[in-house]
Amino acid sequence: MSLVSNAQNVAFTTRWPSDKIVGVWEGSFNRATDVTTVTGDFGSIYVYRIAHGLTRPVATDLLWKATAGWTDGGCTDNFGDISISYSDSTYIYVVSSAFAPAVGTMTYKVIGSWIPDYDNTNPLVSSYVSSNKTKVFDTSINYQKVYLQNALSYTSPSTQSVTHSLGYRPNFRVFYEAFNGQVWPCYSGGTANPFLYDSSMVECIASVTTTSLSVELLSVTGTKRAWYKVYLDA
């Protein structure tokens, strides 16, 4: 078997990079008393801030639980609650609620991953190994290989396409600047977006076909960026 042409079937290859988890933050907060209000011209969102200790934003994946079970960031739970996480150069923000304060306790798990070449600072980062799982590499399982990654720059609302030519619809991730210096996971809903609290806030639409990745940023003013990864696996 050629390892090059079957790289998605091996645990790891130096031919393509892997993602790096630079931190995990788990905890809970009081949704009435521990949150900060962020207000725009559409309304307010209520966020819980976590200092991440790094010098630039990280890509965040959120699992959260309020009244119902553990739910993915960006999804509504069975009781109509919804949460998402984003970051800037100082904090990770977990959205407790949007447009109305909430009560009770929210429990969260945030996984922070490195954004390669976010800027030209290339800072030193302290090694991170979670106390939950101390084995960082296991050849018996797979690691998604980053087939393509880069930053896209937008100066107006528009769609950019990245050709991948893999012949199948690959896994992918997109993070983007909803505001300058603030990195959100791909999310868009227009009037159905519960996090859209300001008219200058950018939304993101991203999808793949068998030949390309499409990344659209809406409501762009100034310069906004998006960071994408196309994985070798489908």
Binding site: S18, K20, D72, K109, Y143, I205
Partner: protein, 133 residues
């Protein structure tokens, strides 16, 4: 504890790479009638075996693939509309499986018959460095 400049590093044991121990697929088979002002739910599950699992969940339809948790403008790309109904997707974890629930809300002012379609769900499951769910 050592430090490392990560921008030019392909792989390092100083940081965990997301450990994809399992992949799963399922289908959301959508059909039927929805009265005005009501919601019809379609769900499927993908089982997992390791505590502390987190998944990237994708939806595939209309020859397009999107992330399931990326909001209605994205999930609408894989759904074939019959009118101006809306689709909301929930991804929720129990201790043994992931539930993917698509809720179709009919606010069109009249009953609708949904376009019969199958949205393929795929998940990349990670043995994430988090505590048990």
């Amino acid at each position: 504890m050592s430090d490392l400049r990560l921008d030019q590093v392909d792989f390092t044991t100083m940081f965990e790479a997301p450990q994809n121990y399992l992949t799963g697929t399922a289908s959301l088979v959508i059909s039927g009638n929805v009265t005005d002002g009501s919601t019809k739910n379609f769900s499927t599950t993908i089982p997992y075996t390791r505590s502390g699992t987190r998944a990237d969940v994708y939806l595939d339809g209309n020859n397009t693939k999107v992330l399931a948790n990326s909001g209605p403008d994205n999930t609408s790309l894989v759904y074939t509309f019959v009118s101006s109904e809306t689709i909301d997707v929930l991804v929720q974890y129990s201790t043994t499986d992931i539930t993917i629930l698509a809720s179709i809300f009919n606010g069109t002012g009249a009953p609708i018959t949904l376009t019969t379609q199958t949205i393929t769900v795929s998940a990349v499951l990670y043995d994430a460095p988090i505590g048990s769910l």
